[in-house]
């Protein structure tokens, strides 16, 4: 005959888990009588002769239930309870306190000082059995709760490590700062809100003197936003764009991306700015889709926000995104950023704002690009009063310098 698989799991078949009771009483006759009765009921019994050795046994054996005499020298029952409740290791122990004079006021005091239940020394064997069983029920519920909590903590730890590994992957997609083209420098900062973010930026090498660059912001946060960002970033790779769009024109690229990335069923989408710097013609071309975080700081100090009111990607498949061309000169700096930077709130909920960002960058003047980028992030952190941004933050700065040596 084939062996049937166990339905209840291997641990509970055939072997009943024996529960343990700790009896703490300085009076030997009463202690052995109770211990004998509990053994007859099928429990494993540990005996302790006073409060001090009782606490040691509790710590060592972690019994399911402790039955405690009130009157004991040195550490009495209520003091025993108080010590247990103050100890993080022991505080969930189930304690049944025994007393010979069960006045309501005394019972109240015992419960207030940490006992879970009371048992009169004059109680019948039926009552003792019933109270011990009730204590055991509570003990096993608490134990299950502790096991489940531990399991959740363990799983969260695994999830956290997986998120960290995914976050490292996303960061590995980011471009290295430094010289992108002769005369074009880049610096950046990336501060995702949950370790794993929905903001991404990158460069697209179009040629010796021509460079594409973009910054995108996926709506929402966390894993799903990061996956969507990585998928759009894959679409925006050089070879793919040349094959599927056949153009380096920012508007043409966004028009095609808009068709490829419709709204998700939860209404998630991207905002993006895509730019092209041509260092031969000194032209900056760009197109935006619902993205307001981009500005040009002229070498004269003048600020030009590259804001165009238009739909984010996926809102309407028939949208045509237009390219804007502007001339750039040596010393001009282009900043692409996500709204998480200027929408950092302070403790009163007031947003840092585009004006304060502009002032900050102004104040840094001719400092190096890397110093301006890290300085702007530091200033936003100072405004909100803590390191952790509530939304993903990305900032990329690009400077065009004279190459006519």
């Amino acid at each position: 005959m084939p062996t049937l698989p166990s339905l209840t799991g291997p641990s509970s078949i055939g072997e009943k888990v024996v529960q343990t009771v700790l009896v703490v009483d300085d009076e030997p006759t009463a202690r052995s009588a109770l211990a004998a009765r509990l053994k007859r009921l099928g429990y494993r019994v540990i005996e302790a002769v006073d409060g001090k050795s009782g606490l040691e046994a509790l710590r060592r054996e972690r019994p399911d239930l402790t039955i405690l005499d009130w009157m004991m020298p040195e550490i009495d029952g209520p003091s025993f309870c108080e010590q247990v409740r103050q100890d993080p290791e022991l505080l969930t122990s189930q304690i049944l306190m025994m007393t010979s004079h069960d006045q309501p006021a005394q019972i109240a005091e015992g419960l207030a000082r940490g006992a879970d239940d009371f048992l009169s020394k004059a109680a019948s064997k039926y009552e003792i059995t019933a109270r011990v069983q009730a204590g055991m029920r509570a003990a096993s519920l608490i134990r299950r709760l502790e096991d489940v909590t531990e399991e959740i903590r363990r799983k969260q730890e695994i999830l956290k490590r997986e998120l960290q590994s995914a976050a490292r992957y996303v960061e590995s997609l980011l471009p290295s700062p430094g010289t992108l083209l002769p005369g074009v420098q880049m610096a950046h900062a990336y501060r995702p809100s949950l370790g794993l973010g929905g903001d991404l930026f990158n460069i697209v090498p179009w040629g010796d003197r021509v460079l594409g660059l973009y910054l995108l912001d996926a709506s929402g946060h966390g894993v799903s936003a990061a996956l969507r960002s990585a998928s759009l970033a894959t679409f925006l790779r050089r070879e793919n764009l040349l094959r599927h769009v056949g153009s380096t024109d920012p508007g043409a690229i966004l028009t095609e991306a808009n068709k490829q990335f419709p709204l998700t069923e939860d209404g998630n989408y991207f905002t993006i700015i895509f730019a092209k710097i041509d260092s031969r013609t000194r032209t900056l071309s760009y197109a935006t889709a619902g993205h307001n975080g981009a500005f040009l700081q002229r070498s004269s100090g003048e600020f030009c926000w590259m804001t165009q009111p238009n739909l984010p990607l996926g809102f309407d498949g028939s949208t045509i995104y237009a390219t804007t061309d502007v001339m750039i000169t040596s010393g001009d700096r282009l900043y692409l950023l996500s709204d998480g930077l200027y929408e950092a709130p302070n403790s009163n909920g007031e947003l840092w704002g585009q004006n304060r960002l502009e002032e900050t960058i102004h104040r840094f003047g001719i400092h190096s690009l890397a110093e301006v980028v890290s300085g702007a992030i530091a200033e936003a952190i100072r405004w909100q009063g803590h390191e952790q941004f509530p939304d993903d933050v990305a900032l990329m700065g690009v400077e065009v310098m004279d190459t006519d040596v």
Binding site: S219, L263, D316
Partner: protein, 114 residues
């Protein structure tokens, strides 16, 4: 966020109050989807009592507008507050969802379009 629907000739006005954000997305979607499945062709979102719309809220508005379009319907918006109006116009939402300052204009606008 609270929602209350009120039938009007050839449509439904959904009165919204509170914030239209990530935290309230299910509530908003459920209310709107119930109206769409009843066969409503013109949904008018009254935004007068909406203080804030975040990026998730913006996506939901676009999604609702697309879903109504799929069932030959239309979504209009009534009286957004200035902050919400600014967010809408930066994302050019009025291209998908016409914005009106009173209900009669919204109803007339839909009839013209139909």
């Amino acid at each position: 966020m609270q929602t209350k629907e009120r039938p009007v000739p050839n449509g439904v006005v959904l009165e919204l109050s509170g914030d239209l954000t990530y935290a309230n997305r299910e509530q908003f979607k459920t209310a709107v989807e119930a109206i769409r499945q009843k066969g409503c062709r013109h949904l008018i979102l009254n935004m007068a009592e909406v203080r804030f719309v975040d990026s998730s809220g913006l996506g939901l508005l676009a999604l609702v507008s697309q879903n109504f379009k799929l069932s030959q319907g239309q979504v209009s918006m009534l009286k957004p507050q200035s902050y919400v109006r600014e967010i809408m116009s930066l994302a050019n939402i009025q291209k998908l969802i016409p914005v009106y300052d009173n209900e009669l204009d919204a109803l007339a606008g839909h009839q013209r379009a139909a």
